[in-house]
């Protein structure tokens, strides 16, 4: 073909701050709200609770938010994978319970070291995920039915593991430490500085590389803004968590970032990387968006489906370990009652679609924060469990409604 000067490359949309902002507003208008509802909800809830109950803002309550929300958030992260495919795992709560029981039995009844117990619990999660995934992908039973059956069956399995209702205490100090011990304040700051620096360097290096190849790059201001927000929020959190929160600091000092926080952040970064930077992650989105197109493109759709369930159950097992650490014990209710609902709620409130194809790891964290704040704040207000359930159920419904409506809106505005 003759190379008569082509006036402009299709890729060349001049990158500018204004353009970025306009693009964002357009997306929101078109029905892609992203993290907006969750962030907005967090601000409103936190403001309301701090006015109604000033103790909400105390350093001890701030730390509680993290330890109370951790297990749900981790389970929600796993659920995002299944939701991205347009599937559901209703058994994730009891999967976490069963895996917690495996942990407790291995630790307490068999006297094994913590790492063997953790490995056993995660292995149990992987086996469960493989089973659920195969039933969905290979046999072709709808995931709703498979995991509803598993919901009941795992409840029974959990009872068997804890001998029909006893409570297995956990005394292993490493497991207990996850939810009950903190990083030394200096280490907290050290990790914070390293993380922010690494994030900034990664952003800058990527931009440099792209610019070097003549590709569009986010403007420096946008990159600086992103790094700035992370630095500010992280700095505030580390500062607040490093405040003394013991009632009697002379007797026993209680301060520092709870150990579970870096664990959750590592999981967040790892899975975000998998979803956004690997072919496997790309294929998860593709299968969720159009399974037939993915099959024609040579993607092994069955394998993707099974892997998503394995990741979901595997993350549920980690959630179970965190829950066991928090309660220092495992009983027939571990992972039961509201855990699944809260986890699904967290993912959806954060912006993950129930229709598949849309969602991020960060959604689980943001949504998990909303759920934790509601639970914690309502508890401080003295409301009973009944009111909490009703409110959280309504919030889940609201989030699902926003999801469905934004989808409709996207259809109307030609997006989708």
């Amino acid at each position: 073909m003759s190379t008569t000067t082509i006036p402009e490359k299709p890729a060349a949309e001049a990158p500018s701050v204004g353009g970025n902002l306009r693009g964002y507003i357009e997306r929101v208008r078109g029905g892609d709200m992203g993290a907006l509802p969750a962030v907005f909800g967090l601000i409103v809830l936190c403001t309301a609770f701090s006015i109604l109950r000033p103790v909400f803002l105390s350093s001890i309550n701030f730390a509680n938010l993290f330890t109370q929300g951790a297990a749900i958030t981790v389970i929600a992260m796993g659920l995002v994978f299944v939701l991205l495919l347009g599937e559901i795992d209703l058994s994730a709560g009891f999967t976490s319970g069963v895996c917690a029981a495996v942990l407790a039995v291995t630790l307490t009844n068999h006297g094994q070291p913590w790492y063997i117990a953790v490995a056993a619990a995660i292995l149990a999660g992987v086996v469960i995920g493989t089973l659920l995934g195969s039933l969905v992908a290979k046999v072709g039973i709808p995931s709703f039915v498979v995991t509803l059956a598993a919901f009941l069956a795992f409840q029974g399995l959990l009872l068997v593991l804890v001998n029909e209702g006893t409570n297995i205490a956990i005394r292993d100090q490493t497991i207990i430490a996850i939810e009950n011990k903190n990083l030394p304040p200096a280490l907290g700051w050290g990790l914070y500085i390293v993380s922010v620096a690494v994030y900034a360097v990664v952003q800058i290096v990527r931009a440099r590389r792209r610019a070097g190849r003549g590709l569009t790059v986010d403007p420096v201001t946008v990159i600086a803004f992103r790094v700035g927000v992370i630095a500010l929020l992280g700095g505030f959190a580390v500062y607040a968590l490093n405040l003394e929160r013991s009632r009697n600091a002379l007797l026993v000092s209680l301060k520092g970032v709870p150990i579970v926080v870096p664990i959750v952040l590592v999981l967040l970064v790892f899975w975000t990387f998998v979803l956004r930077r690997t072919a496997f992650g790309r294929h998860i989105y593709a299968v969720g968006g159009n399974a037939e197109a993915s099959r024609r493109a040579g993607i092994r759709v069955d394998r993707i489906r099974i892997s998503a369930f394995v990741i979901c159950s595997g993350m549920a097992s980690i959630g179970g370990i965190i829950a066991a650490s928090q309660a220092s014990s495992v009983d027939p209710n571990t992972g039961g009652s509201d855990v699944l609902l809260f986890a699904v709620g967290a993912a959806v409130i954060g912006g993950t679609s129930l229709f598949g194809g849309k969602g991020r790891m960060l959604d689980a964290l943001l949504g998990g924060a909303v759920v934790a704040v509601i639970n914690n704040g309502m508890g401080l207000m003295g409301y009973s469990a009944s009111v909490k359930y009703i409110v959280t159920g309504s919030v889940l419904l609201l989030a699902a409604g926003v999801d469905a409506l934004s989808r409709k809106r996207a259809a109307a505005s030609g997006l989708r």
Binding site: E8, K9, P10, A11, R213, A279, R282, A297, G298, K358
Partner: protein
Amino acid sequence: MPSQPVLEIRGLDKSFGPVQVLHDVAFTAYTGEVTALVGDNGAGKSTLVKCLGGTYSIDAGEYFFDGKPVQVASPREAADLGIEIVYQDLALCDNLDIVQNMFLGREKKSGLVLDEATMEEMAAKTLDSLSVRTVKSIRQLVSSLSGGQRQTVAIAKAVLWNSKVVILDEPTAALGVAQTAQVLELVRRLADNGLGVILISHNMNDVFAVSDRIAALYLGRMAAQVKTSDVTHSQVVELITSGRSGELGLQKVNGVTA
């Protein structure tokens, strides 16, 4: 440039169980030309194309690619030869952007990590070579594209892989007038860029607008394959509806001399 046959098929039979859908079909596509494949609903166009693309196995017949006899047992093998099919229902993911769709299932990687920069460059180059200027950004989600733009992406996806033959199954069926013109222009450009193009279409205007040759299927038989410049609209319509037109076409249909 004298056109070379790039893809040729002879004596192709294809049955689904007891039903024989294609009978002794001969068909040739040429480098740098658009060959239109026409025929009534149920004539066997999609089936023929799926046989060419390796989706269906053939019962009998010879398959030549670049002059050499080949066996095409799967879509992968067809793709390895350089045959790409743009399906009637576009196989695109709405929730992915243009680049992501173009490389779906064949992502470029450096180590474990996706090589976004290379994919973006290659996608931009391909769209450039097709003189596509209708999309604002190649990082746009496919859900935000119009029907014509989607068709463009599907076609660009097919030519990205140094393909030699691109088969398009009714690419303009769902499009309006302006977008049809755009896509037809693109189809023409593919051939001008040296590809062998096979265009399935119902629309005589489209066929006469872009094709160099016309192959007419009638009830699973190849009625005629002719140069577009040698026939008129009404002759082609006759070939489609009755399998013959004067001297052209099947002289015996269903064993009865017409």
